[in-house]
Subunit: 262 residues, 2 copies
Amino acid sequence: LKEITEIQSISFVGSGNVATHLAHAFQSADRHIHEVYSPHHSHALDFARKFNCVSRKSIQQLSSDVDLMLLCVPDSQISEVSELILPGRAIVAHTSGIEPLASLSDKIRQTGVFYPLQTFSKDRKVDFRVVPLCIEGKQASTFELLTQLAYKLSNKVVAISSPERAMLHLTAVMVNNFSNKLYGMAHEILERNQLDFNLLLPLIQETAHKMEEMSPEEAQTGPARRNDENTISRHREMLKEFPQYQQLYQLITDEIIKKTHE
Amino acid sequence: LKEITEIQSISFVGSGNVATHLAHAFQSADRHIHEVYSPHHSHALDFARKFNCVSRKSIQQLSSDVDLMLLCVPDSQISEVSELILPGRAIVAHTSGIEPLASLSDKIRQTGVFYPLQTFSKDRKVDFRVVPLCIEGKQASTFELLTQLAYKLSNKVVAISSPERAMLHLTAVMVNNFSNKLYGMAHEILERNQLDFNLLLPLIQETAHKMEEMSPEEAQTGPARRNDENTISRHREMLKEFPQYQQLYQLITDEIIKKTHE
């Protein structure tokens, strides 16, 4: 087996949002997308057309003559897929935030993690140069090769262990999924009152951009921060129509008040 | 009393962040900042120096020879301040999200609301052209004058009644103060684990910017959205060190799961 000195060719297992965004980024970085396998064969065909690569109907058909096999499958399938794959000399890496490196079959010699800390949507372009890429490798050499590849895509490449990555994933869920849920609550409340959610967009964006210049603790404002009982009780009153959000309002408010007086 | 045909001159009661940002915007729009009063006289002096205007030591000393007296004081002081003010021919408007128009003394002939739906920080420049300005006026003529003034600052001027404004304020608290609290939780958890909060910044910003292109419901992703019990229980396990956040994690997760199955 020829030793890999630089990752040049990549095959994908999975063809969803993460795979598609990564494949675009790799292609822009002059890497060769070799093959793709997906349990959804029609998705694999679309992917293959888009990246001018071969699509395979089973994992075992993937050729081992590539430098990297990248698993972009649901977390729950990583372990099983890694047992089925025939990597030959290829590095096998997964892209999950929460699965440990050890989820990959220990029969594979070179394993790693290549986790982009970003949210990917179907039709939305991502600037990979600013996306943190969290890298882990079973061996030092695998870590080096994945890190070298990551720098072709991004200026923000970091060595992150499996427990650290899980912690990052937990907090990513908070700032992404949970913030988005708050946007959804606001959307629902405004719609019910025939008010335009778009009025909140500049505020939503400024809230996010403030983090470039100050810590969340410094940026915390509002009735809870001031312990403004009058405003809080008016808000609670308005939420009578939305009992499911009253408890959430109270819990976050209490947390902000508590923190202020620590 | 000469009738006002256009708001040219403005006095401020209060000299905090909202007053300062508005005064900057008014000055850029060639309005004259006439006088300022603040219970914190040293703040008023700073403000007066910055905007080349006169500072007064009592509210009653404010000259009534201006077109607009703008109250940028804490919500709880609006009513009291409006009782003390001697507006003469001037319009008196407050800038609060939650206080109704009727909080202003009904002895004043022309009252209104000029509420900028944005968060203001001391040293952070705000692009007023995109800030929604929510306008209300006791009389049609007051509403017209405040609207005309608002368009000198922003392209997004909206007529918003007091109950509508309170609803906007409630949702603003959710997307701003509460999202920021989620950032704070993430910050605390990462710091405790010696991980860099800055790694989350591109994700935080992308989460906010997605709202330009899709609704929060379309943008909702993550373990709760997928009802991924495995990941959720690992997150819960990690939060054992942070019992105060476990309940919040569970409540938002449950809300996302519930919504998905509605």
